[in-house]
């Protein structure tokens, strides 16, 4: 298709899609009692309004994010007359949508520069998975901040693959400050950035020299930069907003109960145990399988073979094994798919790919049907409906994860040209 010959066309189309959705969203908000804008966006903008008044963003209930987000959305708090206020209100959504497009652009750059993709092929994958994906455009234009995470992860990859350890570290610190989960990428990147990639290869055979060899300049720079930016950001926020900042951005996520139904396989168990009906405390150990895979096993085995596939597998595992999982979490691994898919067995063997897609969608649909029965029809579908649907979806995800791991072992999504 001629469309994919020109990056300009692809990006203009992606931008146009988002612009149309932004305008449409503004129109729906103004004309219907059912709003296009996400409820989270109301939380962000309320928090921004508090900040504009010189108060803490945590004055808004359920604001569980870094103050940075509220600061960024300060223009939404500007008062103005009718057309002006509509524009300022949409500022955050436009920012999120722009981040989407920027993330897509970074991924295309990486595919072309580091993975030696022909431009057309790179555009095709990134458009299909991210830029033209209506779900991605919908989520950011409704005002969910996940798009910001996308651009941070893309930038992290870009800085890493173009060997800018300090920049990569700074971005990682920021990303973890923003949303805790990107810390998992730190482990992969660290393991990946060995002496050979660093260009400082010195071959020794003793245990001590092996250990010393591990400490490459890039690893040190990356670690120090990441810690510095993470600590600095938290320090600034803590000095500004104190305990509520720590509580809402970090501790809340560690202590929340998550008794409500969601895609996580733990969901029913957590409801049971939160209500005091469980005899065992399995859920207290839920972090074990998740962290063993995500922080130790996956980076160790896969990161050096293919960094992006390792990161994809990590994200996929993190979401699949998490104690809470909602559809926004699926966006987290979407941004990494364009690296993996082109050389994956899901594309090479269409039957496998189509089966995986069908099973994943069917698992979702089954769960959503049970969820609808509960939420809207008031049927007691917790057991067996939601319980089994959650476990089935987990099984499908684990199976797909197995495929990603095998592909990763075979070098799918590996950089095809060595960069010095």
């Amino acid at each position: 298709m001629a469309l994919f010959n020109s990056p300009a066309r692809v990006f203009i189309a992606a931008t146009a899609l988002r612009l149309i959705l932004l305008v449409y969203g503004g129109w729906q908000d103004a004309h219907s009692a059912v709003k296009y804008t996400d409820i989270d966006y109301m939380v962000f903008t309320d928090a921004a309004r508090y900040v504009a008044k010189g108060e803490s963003p945590y004055a808004r209930d359920t604001y569980r994010y870094t103050p940075l987000l509220a600061w960024m959305l300060l223009p939404t708090a500007w008062e103005g007359a009718a057309p002006w206020s509509t524009l300022t209100f949409a500022f955050g959504k436009a920012l999120f949508a722009l981040s989407d497009v920027l993330a897509g652009w970074l991924i295309v750059q990486l595919l072309v520069r580091c993975y030696r993709f022909p431009v057309e092929r790179a555009l095709r994958y990134v458009a299909a998975v991210w830029l033209w994906n209506p779900m991605v455009a919908n989520i950011s234009t409704r005002g969910s901040s996940e798009g910001l995470l996308g651009v941070l992860v893309a930038a992290l990859l870009w800085a890493t693959l173009t060997k800018k350890p300090i920049l990569a570290g700074l971005i990682l610190g920021l990303a973890v400050h923003f949303k805790i989960y990107p810390f998992i990428y730190g482990v992969s990147i660290l393991w990946w950035w060995d002496a050979e990639r660093d260009g400082s290869a010195t071959v020794g055979s003793g245990l001590l020299s092996k250990a010393l060899e591990f400490i490459t300049p890039s690893r040190v720079k990356f670690t120090v930069a990441a810690l510095a930016s993470f600590v600095a950001l938290n320090l600034v926020m803590y000095l500004q907003y104190g305990q509520p900042f720590l509580h809402h951005t970090f501790f809340h996520h560690l202590t929340r109960i998550d008794h409500r139904h969601n895609f996580s396989p733990y969901s029913t168990l957590l409801y049971l145990s939160a209500a005091g009906g469980a005899e065992t405390r399995f859920e207290a150990l839920a972090f074990l399988p998740q962290l063993i895979l995500v922080v130790v096993a996956l980076p160790l085995v896969l990161a050096k073979k293919s960094l992006t596939t390792a990161m994809l597998a990590q994200t996929f595992t993190f979401v699949t094994f998490n104690k809470v999982c909602t559809s926004q979490y699926f966006l987290w691994y979407l941004i990494l798919l364009p690296f993996y898919l082109p050389s994956s067995s899901l594309i090479r063997k269409p039957t496998l790919g189509v089966s995986a897609a069908i099973l994943w969608i069917a698992g979702q649909a089954l769960w959503l049907h049970q969820g609808y029965n509960l939420e809207f029809l008031g049927l007691s579908s917790f057991v067996p409906g939601l319980f089994l649907a959650g476990l089935l979806f987990f099984v499908v995800n684990v199976w797909i994860l197995g495929i990603i791991v095998r592909d990763g072992g075979e070098g799918a999504g590996e950089i095809t040209v060595a960069l010095k």
Partner: protein
Amino acid sequence: MKRRITFIQHVDAGFDPQQAVLTASSLSVRDLDAAREDRITVGLDELPEELRAVLEQSHELHLRWASERSFDAVAPFSSRVSPGLHVHYTPLNSESSSEALCTLLRTVVAPNKDAQYKDCSKPEDSFITTSLISTRFASSASLQYYTHLPSPQSLVKYIQNNVCSQSRADGPECDTRANALLSADSVDIDYDSISHALTLSGLWTSPPTGGWTDQFHKSASAADQIEFGLLGAEAGLEPEEIKMGGLLAVVGQDEKLKPTMFSFPSRHQPLTEPSSYTVSFASPTGLHPTMFISIPRSSLKRPLAPSDATCALHTYLTLPSTIFGDQYQLATTDPLFLESHNLVALRALAGEMDLEAPDWVVQRWGSNWLLELATPPEAEDADRTPDPSNWTATIPLHLRYLPPSETGHRTVHIPWPVVFWACTTEDGTKMGVNPFDRKNIGWDGLFGPRTMSYQLQPAGDHLVEEIDVPVLRIEAGDGYFQSKYIEFGTCAVISLGFMWVLWRLVRVAWSSGVGNKRAEAAHNKRE
């Protein structure tokens, strides 16, 4: 001890002088077709120790109980609260708030088998503090509590066991009077530290079959007094006034019933034209039930308040902790949202506002919401045939997660809200001179002291909505729904999934190590 017995006869109810006979020591009524209010005022020293202990630590304590049955609130008793037990409490000082009130509450509420109530060890645990966002004048007790209570049975038993058993001669009489509360439509108990007296009032808005037949004897003790009134009420000369006329007597003092006529301003006014509303939930309720308040359009005429008064239709919701509103959703100023629900604005809210907590984590009893309702636009052509459809305001609400049950459902009880017009009155109107004045009913504190209210009549057999909430189904025996299946099922599936991914990783590591793909490939080639 002082008793006041008031019978309120409807204007067109028949009355024969033989139906009320006063002698030197007693008064008897026969087959009287009337509403009735009994009010007993007792000094602190006449009360049992336990109760006195609670009261002595109170600045104010007001209990309001209303029946779930529909009843006709007649003037001057035209105010209503949502069915159930409401407690308004201000401790004498902030440290004195005690466990005794909670103990008392447990005695009054807990014996009901299906009682859904939030227990407390101190009132601060489960009571709520009053209004969060009301910017209006607020005068109400500092702590407030509500619970579903279909019958005042345990309250009656408490009075019989603790109060009646103490009194000497009139023990049996006391028992009978307490028993009569079982058929009352509403019961009020008031105490404040200024008067040092406890007042208990029961209201029966309709007589038992055949009318009231009763006899009231002058008490042996000179301090005790029985006031009797047989009255009718009608609109006063001024719109804020109620005019009452009839017969009054003090039993044992007066020789005959004295005709009387008096009028007074009243904060609670009857609506002159029949006006009713019904409350329901859209079916299926799911986890996000929508409350419907339906009012026949004919019931929406502005009350006969002074023409310069501003009047607005309000509803006051009393929501147990199991159900809640989203304050951010309801406090919106978005005209599209408000219009689609026929709401004007959220005027006040108080209590448990957490949007995420399950019910078993919530300690406080629930929340109160004062919403102003929209009224239909004035018909351009008054002669047109009236629109037969109802005017419906809708309030989107949400259910909390409830503990698992054997059936997979739990029933929650949601009392019908009260619906009323609130109108401003001229400055200087003194509502306090009303001998039948009623304050501390929750929403009255959210309006200025000179606001008049006109309440609509809830039209239904049962003024409490029941919602079946889906919960996790767990059986105790050996059925299919055992908690251990969930526990072990989850554990097994996740362990297997974990092993599977680990196995995949081991195979990768086995065949190509953990190092660089390129290096491995080069290494393999060398071999």
